[in-house]
């Protein structure tokens, strides 16, 4: 019962965060929102596993937690160095805030 209520809460939270991801205004707000969205998806997957009575689905939640982290780091590496290869410090300031 409480699990269902918590799931509804998660879904509402996801809507709010998605609104922030779309509204921006800066790129960093969007990265933060998508990262936070990912955390909520992990929780939602775990909750869905319990709701359907098959908690084995947690494997996917675990995979998500990993992917979400790696994805965020890749995005930020791209921000700071402008490419995904070897970092060159001179490129760090090329990005403006929007």
């Amino acid at each position: 019962m409480m699990l269902a209520a918590a799931t509804v809460g998660l879904l509402v939270a996801m809507l709010i965060v998605l609104a922030r991801a779309i509204a921006g205004p800066s790129l960093y707000d969007r990265v933060l929102a998508v990262n936070s969205f990912g955390t909520k998806i992990v929780l939602l997957l775990a909750a869905m596993g319990f709701l359907s009575g098959r908690p084995d689905f947690l494997d996917i939640a675990l995979l998500y937690a990993l992917i979400n982290f790696i994805g965020t780091l890749a995005v930020l590496k791209f921000f700071r160095y402008r490419h995904l290869g070897v970092a060159s410090p001179s490129d760090g300031k090329a990005e403006t805030t929007r």
Binding site: M1, M2, L3, A5, A6, G9, L10, V12, A13, M14, I16, V17, A19, R20, S26, Y28, D29, V31, L32, A33, N35, S36, T39, K40, V42, L43, A46, A47, F50, P55, D56, L58, D59, A61, L62, A65, L66, F69, T72, L73, L76, F79, R80, G92, K93, E95, T96, T97
Partner: protein, 110 residues
């Protein structure tokens, strides 16, 4: 599942969901990127941990609980790194924080 475990699970889940909601609400309400970082932190630490602990009570002493512990440790270890990376990227390009007194900022950002 004993009644006590069910009640504990319900309490933890409810508290976690409330914190997740507050964090998301803060992400929407707070005025700028740097303050929103803190709201995202609420979701990532207390909201997430409380909900996962609640699910551990649902799972009982099984491999499910072990996996939940792994998920929790993984997120608690990686989320500060991700948060720092976003904050650092924004700071490096000189995104200006809202409401910070000017003497706090480095020369170039004033």
């Amino acid at each position: 599942m004993s009644l006590l475990a069910a009640i504990l699970a319900g309490m933890f889940l409810a508290a976690g969901a409330i914190f997740v909601l507050i964090g998301s609400f803060g992400l929407w309400r707070l005025p700028d990127f740097y303050t929103r970082l803190h709201a995202a932190g609420i979701t990532d630490t207390l909201g997430l941990s409380l909900m996962l602990v609640g699910m551990m009570f649902l799972g009982g002493w099984t491999l499910v609980t072990v996996k939940l512990v792994f998920i929790m440790l993984l997120i608690l270890l990686t989320s500060p790194t991700a948060t720092h990376a976003v904050a650092n990227a924004a700071y490096t390009v000189g995104l200006r924080p809202f409401g910070v007194p000017p003497e706090d900022l480095a020369e170039k950002d004033r």
